[in-house]
C-alpha cells in the first residue's frame, strides 16, 4: 500500500533522512521509532507530500507522491505532530471544511462523513465548541477525525499519543487498532510500550538511517531478559 523508495532529505549541510526504504502492507501497523531529531517527522512529511524530498520518492497505492500528488494525497489520512487545526472554528465546522476540501460528494454525503467520524472519535458532545476551548485529548481526537474522514487506505500518524494522559492514550490506541484492520498504518512514537501494545512491525531510525526493521517480538529477542528501552538505547546511540 505504501512503498518508500530511497527517500532522502538534506537541510543545508545536514542529511536529515538518508536513503530510507521500506513498504507497508494493508493490515499492518508500523511503529516508526527513533530518538528525537532522527528524521521520523521529516520522513512522514515527505511521504504525505508536504516536504519535497531531495532524492527518492514514495508511492501510495501505486501513485507516486511527486508525479501524481493529488491522487496520492487523497489516499492518505495524516495527523501532523501536535495535531494543528483552525482554532477559531468549531469541531463541526472544521470537519465540514476538510470534507469539502476532500470533495466527499454533495452536502448530504459530507454531512454523513462528518457524523461518522464524530461517533468514531467520540466528539459528538463537543461538535459546536470552538477547537481552542477543547482539552488536549479532545484536540488530538479532532486531528484524528480530520485524518480519517475520507476513510483512507493509508493512515500516517505523527506521535498520536504525545502529551495525553494514560486513559486518553488507551482510548487513542483502541481507535487505531479498531480502524487498522483494512488499512496500512504508520505511526511514529518514542514510547516503547506503545510498540508492544499496538504494532505488528517496528522500524527504528537513527541519524536518518533505518537500523532495525522487524516485529516487536524479534526486537525483544535481541537481548532476552532486558527491557525494550535498553535495546533501543543500544541501537540508537
Amino acid at each position: 500500500m505504501v512503498e518508500i523508495d530511497q527517500l532522502s532529505k538534506r537541510f543545508g549541510n545536514l542529511l536529515a533522512v538518508d536513503r530510507v526504504s521500506f513498504s507497508v502492507r494493508r493490515g499492518e501497523i508500523l511503529g516508526f521509532l527513533g530518538p528525537n531529531g532522527a528524521g521520523k517527522s521529516t520522513t512522514m512529511k515527505m511521504v504525505t507530500g508536504f516536504l519535497r524530498p531531495t532524492a527518492g520518492t514514495a508511492r501510495i497505492g501505486g501513485h507516486d507522491i511527486l508525479e501524481e500528488p493529488l491522487a496520492a494525497k487523497s489516499r492518505i489520512g495524516y495527523l501532523p505532530e501536535s495535531s494543528p487545526s483552525y482554532q477559531e472554528m468549531t469541531v463541526g465546522e472544521f470537519l465540514g471544511f476538510i470534507a469539502e476540501c476532500r470533495r466527499l460528494g454533495d452536502r448530504a454525503a459530507r454531512g454523513r462523513a462528518v457524523e461518522r467520524v464524530l461517533d468514531l472519535c467520540s466528539l459528538r458532545e463537543v461538535r459546536h465548541q470552538p477547537i481552542e476551548t477543547l482539552s488536549k485529548g479532545y484536540r488530538q481526537r479532532v486531528g484524528f477525525a480530520q485524518a480519517v474522514i475520507h476513510d483512507p487506505p493509508v493512515l500516517i500518524l505523527d506521535e498520536p499519543t504525545d502529551g495525553l494522559d494514560p486513559n486518553q492514550k488507551h482510548e487513542v490506541r483502541s481507535i487505531i487498532t479498531g480502524m487498522a484492520k483494512d488499512k496500512a498504518v504508520i505511526l511514529s512514537t518514542h514510547i516503547l510500550e506503545e510498540v508492544d501494545a499496538l504494532c505488528t512491525r517496528v522500524i527504528i531510525i537513527a541519524r536518518g538511517k533505518v537500523v532495525v526493521d522487524e516485529t516487536p517480538a524479534e526486537l525483544r529477542d535481541r537481548d532476552p531478559g532486558k527491557r525494550l528501552d535498553t535495546v533501543f538505547r543500544q541501537l540508537t546511540t
Binding site: K45, T48, G49, F50, R52, P69, L70, A71, K73, S74, I76, Y78, P80, E81, S82, P84, S85, Y86, Q87, E88, M89, F97, I98, E100, C101, R102, R103, Q146
Partner: protein
Amino acid sequence: MDATLALFKREFFGYFRSPVAYVFLIVFLLAAVGLAFFVGQFFRGNTASLDAFFVFHPWLFLFFIPAVGMRLWAEEKRSGTIEILFTLPLTPLQAVAGKFFAGWLFVALAVVLTFPMALTVGYLGSPDWGMILCSYLGSILMAGAYLSICSLTSSLTKNQVISFVLSTLVCLVLVFLGWGVFSNLLGAVFPVWLVDLLATFSFTTHYESMMRGLLDLRGLVYFLSLMAFSLFLNVLALER
C-alpha cells in the same frame, strides 16, 4: 474548483469569526472618511466630487491592507495548519487563489462600505457618477494589487510583524515611484525617461488616471498583471 471554493469560504467567514474584522472595518471607515473631511477639506472644496476622499486611498491602504494580508500565510505557518492544508488533495495554486480572493472580497467590502460618501455628494450636488464608479473600481483593483503583495510576503515568513513591515515597504516603493513630490526629487538626479519609466510601475500613476474617470486598458492590465505576478511568486514560495 470545489477545494478553492471551500478555502475561499473558510477564509472569508473566518474574518468574521473574530472581532478583528469588525474593528478593521470600523477603523478603516473612520480613517477613510476622517481623512477626506479633515485633511482633504471635503466640504470646503465646494465641488460635487469625491477626489478629496479617493486621493488618500494609496496612503490608507499602505497600513490597512498589510494588516489584513499579513496573516494569510504567516498564521498557517506559525500554527502548523499549513501541514494540514498542503497534505489535502489540492494544488498550491488553488490554495493561493482561495485565500487571496477571500481577502480581496473582504477589503473590497471595506471600500464599498464607504458608499455614504457617494450618497452625500449625490445629495448635495450632481456629481459625475461615471467618474465615481471608475474611482471605486480603481480603488478596489489597487487594493487587490496591495493584497497580492501582502500574500506573497506573508508566505515568506511565519512572523506576522515581519510580514507586515515587508509588505508595507514594498507597497511604499510602488506608491512613491509615481508620487509627484518624489518624482520631482528623482528628476533632479535621473533622466526624465527613466523617471517616467519608473512611474509606469507605480500604483499612483494608474490609480490617479482611473480617479479622473479614465478607464484605460493600461491601468487594468497593470493591476491585474501585478496581482498575477505576485501570486505566481507566492505559489513558487509555497511549493519550495
